[in-house]
Symmetry: C2
Subunit: 199 residues, 2 copies
Protein backbone atom coordinates (compact mmCIF):
# COMPACT_ATOMS: atom_id res chain seq x y z
CA UNK A 1 0.00 0.00 0.00
CA UNK A 2 2.80 2.41 0.93
CA UNK A 3 4.58 1.59 -2.30
CA UNK A 4 1.58 2.49 -4.40
CA UNK A 5 1.22 5.77 -2.52
CA UNK A 6 4.89 6.54 -3.08
CA UNK A 7 4.54 5.82 -6.76
CA UNK A 8 1.59 8.19 -6.96
CA UNK A 9 3.48 10.94 -5.16
CA UNK A 10 6.54 10.39 -7.29
CA UNK A 11 4.68 10.60 -10.53
CA UNK A 12 2.87 13.78 -9.42
CA UNK A 13 5.87 15.92 -8.49
CA UNK A 14 7.91 14.48 -11.36
CA UNK A 15 5.04 15.08 -13.79
CA UNK A 16 4.97 18.70 -12.69
CA UNK A 17 8.65 19.17 -13.49
CA UNK A 18 9.55 16.82 -16.32
CA UNK A 19 7.99 19.11 -18.91
CA UNK A 20 10.51 21.76 -17.91
CA UNK A 21 13.55 19.61 -17.02
CA UNK A 22 15.32 16.66 -18.56
CA UNK A 23 15.24 14.35 -15.54
CA UNK A 24 17.45 11.31 -14.95
CA UNK A 25 16.05 8.47 -12.84
CA UNK A 26 18.26 9.65 -9.97
CA UNK A 27 16.92 13.21 -10.28
CA UNK A 28 13.34 11.90 -10.21
CA UNK A 29 14.14 9.97 -7.06
CA UNK A 30 15.71 13.01 -5.37
CA UNK A 31 12.79 15.25 -6.32
CA UNK A 32 10.28 12.75 -4.97
CA UNK A 33 12.18 12.45 -1.70
CA UNK A 34 12.90 16.15 -1.23
CA UNK A 35 9.55 17.64 -2.15
CA UNK A 36 6.86 15.96 -0.08
CA UNK A 37 3.20 16.55 -0.91
CA UNK A 38 0.97 17.04 2.10
CA UNK A 39 -2.79 17.52 2.42
CA UNK A 40 -3.69 20.13 5.03
CA UNK A 41 -7.19 20.46 6.46
CA UNK A 42 -9.28 23.61 6.00
CA UNK A 43 -8.31 26.12 8.68
CA UNK A 44 -4.72 24.85 9.01
CA UNK A 45 -2.19 27.62 9.64
CA UNK A 46 0.92 27.10 7.51
CA UNK A 47 2.79 30.07 8.98
CA UNK A 48 2.10 32.31 11.97
CA UNK A 49 3.07 35.90 12.69
CA UNK A 50 6.33 35.76 14.67
CA UNK A 51 7.47 32.44 13.16
CA UNK A 52 10.45 32.30 10.79
CA UNK A 53 9.43 30.90 7.39
CA UNK A 54 11.57 27.88 6.54
CA UNK A 55 9.64 26.55 3.58
CA UNK A 56 7.85 27.51 0.41
CA UNK A 57 4.78 25.76 -0.98
CA UNK A 58 3.33 24.99 -4.36
CA UNK A 59 -0.45 24.73 -4.49
CA UNK A 60 -1.49 21.52 -6.24
CA UNK A 61 -5.12 21.70 -5.13
CA UNK A 62 -6.81 24.00 -2.65
CA UNK A 63 -6.94 27.61 -1.54
CA UNK A 64 -4.62 29.47 0.81
CA UNK A 65 -4.79 33.07 2.00
CA UNK A 66 -2.23 35.45 3.45
CA UNK A 67 -3.41 37.81 6.16
CA UNK A 68 -2.07 40.37 8.61
CA UNK A 69 -3.42 41.11 12.08
CA UNK A 70 -3.86 44.88 12.32
CA UNK A 71 -5.36 46.24 15.55
CA UNK A 72 -7.05 42.91 16.18
CA UNK A 73 -8.52 42.76 12.68
CA UNK A 74 -7.54 40.31 9.94
CA UNK A 75 -6.48 41.96 6.67
CA UNK A 76 -6.32 39.53 3.76
CA UNK A 77 -3.78 40.57 1.12
CA UNK A 78 -3.38 37.48 -1.04
CA UNK A 79 -5.17 34.35 -2.26
CA UNK A 80 -3.24 31.41 -3.70
CA UNK A 81 -5.05 28.96 -5.98
CA UNK A 82 -3.88 25.93 -7.95
CA UNK A 83 -0.40 26.29 -9.55
CA UNK A 84 0.48 29.29 -7.37
CA UNK A 85 3.75 29.40 -5.45
CA UNK A 86 3.20 30.34 -1.80
CA UNK A 87 6.13 31.99 -0.08
CA UNK A 88 6.93 34.51 2.64
CA UNK A 89 10.24 35.58 1.23
CA UNK A 90 11.14 38.46 3.54
CA UNK A 91 10.98 36.07 6.49
CA UNK A 92 12.50 33.19 4.51
CA UNK A 93 15.40 35.15 3.01
CA UNK A 94 16.30 37.29 6.02
CA UNK A 95 15.42 34.62 8.62
CA UNK A 96 13.28 37.16 10.46
CA UNK A 97 9.89 36.56 12.12
CA UNK A 98 6.99 36.66 9.68
CA UNK A 99 4.66 39.68 9.94
CA UNK A 100 1.68 37.72 8.58
CA UNK A 101 -0.19 34.42 8.58
CA UNK A 102 -0.76 31.80 5.87
CA UNK A 103 -4.00 29.82 6.26
CA UNK A 104 -5.60 27.04 4.22
CA UNK A 105 -9.19 28.22 3.65
CA UNK A 106 -10.00 25.00 1.79
CA UNK A 107 -8.47 21.56 2.33
CA UNK A 108 -5.23 22.01 0.40
CA UNK A 109 -2.72 19.65 -1.16
CA UNK A 110 0.64 21.39 -1.23
CA UNK A 111 4.15 20.48 -2.35
CA UNK A 112 6.63 21.61 0.30
CA UNK A 113 10.14 22.84 -0.41
CA UNK A 114 12.17 23.40 2.74
CA UNK A 115 15.30 25.51 3.08
CA UNK A 116 17.58 22.47 3.61
CA UNK A 117 16.05 20.43 0.79
CA UNK A 118 16.29 23.36 -1.61
CA UNK A 119 20.07 23.42 -1.29
CA UNK A 120 20.23 19.65 -1.82
CA UNK A 121 18.06 19.87 -4.94
CA UNK A 122 20.15 22.66 -6.44
CA UNK A 123 23.19 20.43 -6.06
CA UNK A 124 21.68 17.14 -7.19
CA UNK A 125 19.15 18.06 -9.90
CA UNK A 126 20.77 19.72 -12.92
CA UNK A 127 18.71 22.67 -14.11
CA UNK A 128 16.57 22.91 -10.97
CA UNK A 129 18.09 26.19 -9.79
CA UNK A 130 17.68 27.66 -13.29
CA UNK A 131 14.04 26.61 -13.28
CA UNK A 132 13.58 28.25 -9.88
CA UNK A 133 15.19 31.45 -11.13
CA UNK A 134 12.90 31.60 -14.16
CA UNK A 135 9.83 30.79 -12.04
CA UNK A 136 10.65 33.49 -9.51
CA UNK A 137 11.34 35.97 -12.31
CA UNK A 138 7.89 35.21 -13.74
CA UNK A 139 6.32 35.58 -10.32
CA UNK A 140 8.07 38.91 -9.78
CA UNK A 141 6.86 40.06 -13.21
CA UNK A 142 3.28 39.20 -12.30
CA UNK A 143 3.71 41.04 -8.98
CA UNK A 144 5.10 44.15 -10.63
CA UNK A 145 2.02 44.34 -12.86
CA UNK A 146 -0.45 43.45 -10.13
CA UNK A 147 0.92 46.05 -7.75
CA UNK A 148 0.77 48.77 -10.42
CA UNK A 149 -2.81 47.83 -11.32
CA UNK A 150 -3.78 47.87 -7.66
CA UNK A 151 -2.22 51.32 -7.16
CA UNK A 152 -4.13 52.73 -10.11
CA UNK A 153 -7.53 51.26 -9.30
CA UNK A 154 -10.32 51.54 -6.74
CA UNK A 155 -12.28 48.76 -4.95
CA UNK A 156 -14.96 48.56 -7.66
CA UNK A 157 -12.36 48.34 -10.43
CA UNK A 158 -10.49 45.69 -8.40
CA UNK A 159 -13.68 43.68 -8.06
CA UNK A 160 -14.53 43.82 -11.78
CA UNK A 161 -10.88 42.91 -12.58
CA UNK A 162 -11.26 39.85 -10.35
CA UNK A 163 -14.55 38.97 -12.11
CA UNK A 164 -12.69 39.07 -15.39
CA UNK A 165 -9.36 37.48 -14.42
CA UNK A 166 -10.23 35.10 -11.57
CA UNK A 167 -13.98 34.39 -11.71
CA UNK A 168 -13.53 31.06 -9.90
CA UNK A 169 -11.90 32.85 -6.97
CA UNK A 170 -15.08 34.88 -6.43
CA UNK A 171 -17.02 31.62 -6.10
CA UNK A 172 -14.58 30.02 -3.70
CA UNK A 173 -13.60 32.82 -1.33
CA UNK A 174 -15.91 33.78 1.58
CA UNK A 175 -17.29 37.30 1.11
CA UNK A 176 -15.70 38.73 4.28
CA UNK A 177 -12.22 37.62 3.13
CA UNK A 178 -12.91 39.08 -0.29
CA UNK A 179 -14.02 42.42 1.19
CA UNK A 180 -10.88 42.51 3.33
CA UNK A 181 -8.76 41.79 0.24
CA UNK A 182 -10.43 44.67 -1.63
CA UNK A 183 -9.80 46.94 1.35
CA UNK A 184 -13.50 47.56 2.06
CA UNK A 185 -16.24 46.54 4.52
CA UNK A 186 -18.51 43.59 3.60
CA UNK A 187 -21.44 46.08 3.31
CA UNK A 188 -19.53 48.06 0.66
CA UNK A 189 -18.84 44.85 -1.26
CA UNK A 190 -22.58 44.08 -1.25
CA UNK A 191 -23.28 47.56 -2.64
CA UNK A 192 -20.66 47.11 -5.40
CA UNK A 193 -22.15 43.74 -6.35
CA UNK A 194 -25.65 45.23 -6.51
CA UNK A 195 -24.48 48.14 -8.65
CA UNK A 196 -22.80 45.76 -11.09
CA UNK A 197 -25.82 43.40 -11.24
CA UNK A 198 -28.15 46.34 -11.94
CA UNK A 199 -26.10 47.63 -14.86
CA UNK B 1 42.27 57.96 -22.12
CA UNK B 2 39.96 55.15 -23.26
CA UNK B 3 42.03 52.66 -21.32
CA UNK B 4 41.68 54.60 -18.10
CA UNK B 5 37.92 54.82 -18.62
CA UNK B 6 37.74 51.09 -19.29
CA UNK B 7 39.68 50.39 -16.13
CA UNK B 8 37.28 52.57 -14.16
CA UNK B 9 34.24 50.83 -15.61
CA UNK B 10 35.75 47.43 -15.04
CA UNK B 11 36.54 48.10 -11.45
CA UNK B 12 33.04 49.48 -10.81
CA UNK B 13 30.99 46.53 -12.06
CA UNK B 14 33.51 44.06 -10.69
CA UNK B 15 33.58 45.85 -7.34
CA UNK B 16 29.82 45.52 -7.18
CA UNK B 17 29.97 41.76 -7.65
CA UNK B 18 33.24 40.55 -6.18
CA UNK B 19 31.91 40.72 -2.64
CA UNK B 20 29.30 38.15 -3.62
CA UNK B 21 31.24 36.04 -6.14
CA UNK B 22 34.69 34.50 -6.30
CA UNK B 23 35.75 35.97 -9.65
CA UNK B 24 38.54 34.71 -11.90
CA UNK B 25 40.32 37.21 -14.13
CA UNK B 26 38.39 35.81 -17.09
CA UNK B 27 35.09 36.24 -15.25
CA UNK B 28 35.97 39.86 -14.43
CA UNK B 29 36.71 40.46 -18.10
CA UNK B 30 33.41 38.92 -19.21
CA UNK B 31 31.42 40.88 -16.65
CA UNK B 32 33.05 44.14 -17.72
CA UNK B 33 32.34 43.44 -21.38
CA UNK B 34 28.79 42.16 -20.91
CA UNK B 35 27.44 44.71 -18.45
CA UNK B 36 28.05 48.19 -19.85
CA UNK B 37 27.50 51.22 -17.63
CA UNK B 38 25.78 54.12 -19.35
CA UNK B 39 24.92 57.62 -18.16
CA UNK B 40 21.49 58.73 -19.35
CA UNK B 41 20.37 62.38 -19.27
CA UNK B 42 17.44 63.56 -17.17
CA UNK B 43 14.22 62.96 -19.12
CA UNK B 44 15.58 59.97 -21.06
CA UNK B 45 12.99 57.26 -21.68
CA UNK B 46 14.51 53.81 -21.06
CA UNK B 47 11.37 51.91 -22.12
CA UNK B 48 8.18 53.03 -23.84
CA UNK B 49 4.66 51.62 -23.74
CA UNK B 50 4.35 49.23 -26.68
CA UNK B 51 8.08 48.36 -26.76
CA UNK B 52 9.30 44.89 -25.77
CA UNK B 53 11.72 45.09 -22.83
CA UNK B 54 15.00 43.42 -23.74
CA UNK B 55 17.13 44.59 -20.84
CA UNK B 56 17.22 45.11 -17.11
CA UNK B 57 19.08 47.89 -15.33
CA UNK B 58 20.86 48.36 -12.05
CA UNK B 59 20.84 51.91 -10.69
CA UNK B 60 24.36 52.96 -9.74
CA UNK B 61 23.50 56.65 -9.38
CA UNK B 62 20.34 58.53 -10.26
CA UNK B 63 16.57 58.28 -10.10
CA UNK B 64 14.19 56.46 -12.44
CA UNK B 65 10.41 56.28 -12.34
CA UNK B 66 7.90 53.85 -13.82
CA UNK B 67 4.64 55.30 -15.08
CA UNK B 68 1.51 54.29 -16.93
CA UNK B 69 -0.52 56.46 -19.29
CA UNK B 70 -4.16 56.20 -18.21
CA UNK B 71 -6.70 58.30 -20.13
CA UNK B 72 -3.96 60.74 -21.10
CA UNK B 73 -2.70 61.06 -17.53
CA UNK B 74 0.63 59.79 -16.20
CA UNK B 75 0.33 57.49 -13.18
CA UNK B 76 3.64 56.93 -11.40
CA UNK B 77 3.82 53.56 -9.65
CA UNK B 78 7.51 53.15 -8.82
CA UNK B 79 10.70 55.05 -8.06
CA UNK B 80 14.10 53.41 -8.37
CA UNK B 81 17.03 54.88 -6.45
CA UNK B 82 20.65 53.80 -6.04
CA UNK B 83 21.18 50.00 -5.75
CA UNK B 84 17.70 49.24 -7.07
CA UNK B 85 17.18 46.77 -9.91
CA UNK B 86 14.96 48.19 -12.65
CA UNK B 87 13.07 45.66 -14.72
CA UNK B 88 9.83 45.25 -16.64
CA UNK B 89 9.60 41.52 -16.25
CA UNK B 90 6.17 40.81 -17.75
CA UNK B 91 7.35 42.34 -21.00
CA UNK B 92 10.87 40.88 -20.68
CA UNK B 93 9.79 37.33 -19.79
CA UNK B 94 6.82 36.99 -22.12
CA UNK B 95 8.31 39.14 -24.90
CA UNK B 96 5.12 41.19 -25.01
CA UNK B 97 4.80 44.98 -25.46
CA UNK B 98 5.34 46.91 -22.23
CA UNK B 99 2.23 48.56 -20.72
CA UNK B 100 4.30 51.29 -19.07
CA UNK B 101 7.22 53.72 -19.39
CA UNK B 102 10.57 53.94 -17.58
CA UNK B 103 12.00 57.48 -17.38
CA UNK B 104 15.17 58.89 -15.85
CA UNK B 105 13.99 61.81 -13.71
CA UNK B 106 17.56 62.65 -12.76
CA UNK B 107 20.70 62.08 -14.81
CA UNK B 108 21.25 58.39 -14.13
CA UNK B 109 24.21 56.05 -14.36
CA UNK B 110 22.88 52.54 -14.97
CA UNK B 111 24.42 49.12 -15.49
CA UNK B 112 22.64 47.39 -18.38
CA UNK B 113 22.05 43.65 -18.63
CA UNK B 114 20.56 42.62 -21.95
CA UNK B 115 18.75 39.37 -22.73
CA UNK B 116 21.58 38.02 -24.94
CA UNK B 117 24.33 38.99 -22.53
CA UNK B 118 22.49 37.44 -19.61
CA UNK B 119 22.64 34.01 -21.20
CA UNK B 120 26.35 34.47 -21.95
CA UNK B 121 27.06 35.49 -18.35
CA UNK B 122 25.17 32.51 -16.92
CA UNK B 123 27.38 30.24 -19.02
CA UNK B 124 30.72 31.96 -18.47
CA UNK B 125 30.62 33.31 -14.91
CA UNK B 126 30.27 30.56 -12.29
CA UNK B 127 27.79 31.51 -9.61
CA UNK B 128 26.27 34.42 -11.55
CA UNK B 129 22.92 32.70 -12.14
CA UNK B 130 22.76 31.72 -8.45
CA UNK B 131 23.43 35.33 -7.49
CA UNK B 132 20.65 36.47 -9.84
CA UNK B 133 18.25 33.93 -8.32
CA UNK B 134 19.00 35.11 -4.80
CA UNK B 135 18.75 38.78 -5.82
CA UNK B 136 15.39 38.25 -7.54
CA UNK B 137 14.15 36.27 -4.55
CA UNK B 138 15.07 39.20 -2.30
CA UNK B 139 13.37 41.63 -4.65
CA UNK B 140 10.23 39.51 -4.74
CA UNK B 141 10.27 39.36 -0.93
CA UNK B 142 10.46 43.14 -0.73
CA UNK B 143 7.59 43.39 -3.25
CA UNK B 144 5.40 40.97 -1.32
CA UNK B 145 5.76 43.11 1.78
CA UNK B 146 5.43 46.43 -0.02
CA UNK B 147 2.27 45.37 -1.81
CA UNK B 148 0.68 44.15 1.42
CA UNK B 149 1.58 47.39 3.20
CA UNK B 150 0.16 49.40 0.32
CA UNK B 151 -3.09 47.43 0.37
CA UNK B 152 -3.52 48.01 4.10
CA UNK B 153 -2.71 51.72 4.14
CA UNK B 154 -4.14 55.05 2.95
CA UNK B 155 -2.35 57.97 1.22
CA UNK B 156 -1.42 59.69 4.52
CA UNK B 157 -0.02 56.45 5.96
CA UNK B 158 1.90 55.86 2.72
CA UNK B 159 3.38 59.35 2.95
CA UNK B 160 4.48 58.97 6.57
CA UNK B 161 5.92 55.51 5.70
CA UNK B 162 7.95 57.17 2.93
CA UNK B 163 9.12 59.86 5.39
CA UNK B 164 10.35 57.10 7.66
CA UNK B 165 11.76 54.63 5.13
CA UNK B 166 12.90 56.79 2.20
CA UNK B 167 13.28 60.38 3.44
CA UNK B 168 15.80 61.18 0.68
CA UNK B 169 13.22 60.20 -1.95
CA UNK B 170 10.86 62.91 -0.69
CA UNK B 171 13.63 65.47 -1.28
CA UNK B 172 14.46 64.25 -4.77
CA UNK B 173 11.09 63.51 -6.34
CA UNK B 174 8.99 66.36 -7.80
CA UNK B 175 5.74 66.79 -5.84
CA UNK B 176 3.43 65.99 -8.76
CA UNK B 177 5.16 62.63 -9.32
CA UNK B 178 4.95 61.94 -5.60
CA UNK B 179 1.22 62.75 -5.51
CA UNK B 180 0.64 60.46 -8.50
CA UNK B 181 2.59 57.69 -6.73
CA UNK B 182 0.43 58.10 -3.62
CA UNK B 183 -2.69 57.99 -5.78
CA UNK B 184 -3.82 61.52 -4.90
CA UNK B 185 -3.98 65.03 -6.40
CA UNK B 186 -1.09 67.45 -5.68
CA UNK B 187 -3.54 69.59 -3.61
CA UNK B 188 -4.30 66.61 -1.35
CA UNK B 189 -0.57 66.00 -0.88
CA UNK B 190 -0.16 69.64 0.21
CA UNK B 191 -2.96 69.17 2.77
CA UNK B 192 -1.35 65.98 4.12
CA UNK B 193 2.01 67.75 4.46
CA UNK B 194 0.38 70.65 6.30
CA UNK B 195 -1.48 68.33 8.65
CA UNK B 196 1.75 66.49 9.48
CA UNK B 197 3.75 69.71 9.98
CA UNK B 198 1.06 71.09 12.34
CA UNK B 199 1.09 68.02 14.58
Amino acid sequence: MLNIQNLDLKSEIVQLLEGALDLSEEAKQVLTECIPIVTFPKGHILLREGQVSNESFFNIEGLVRKYYMVDGEEKTTEFYIENDAISSLQSYNLKIPSNHYLECIEESRLAILSRERERELFEKVPGFESLCRVTIEEELGAYQDKQAQFMMSNPEKRYTDLMQNSPELLQRVPQYHLASYLGIKPESLSRIRKRITNR
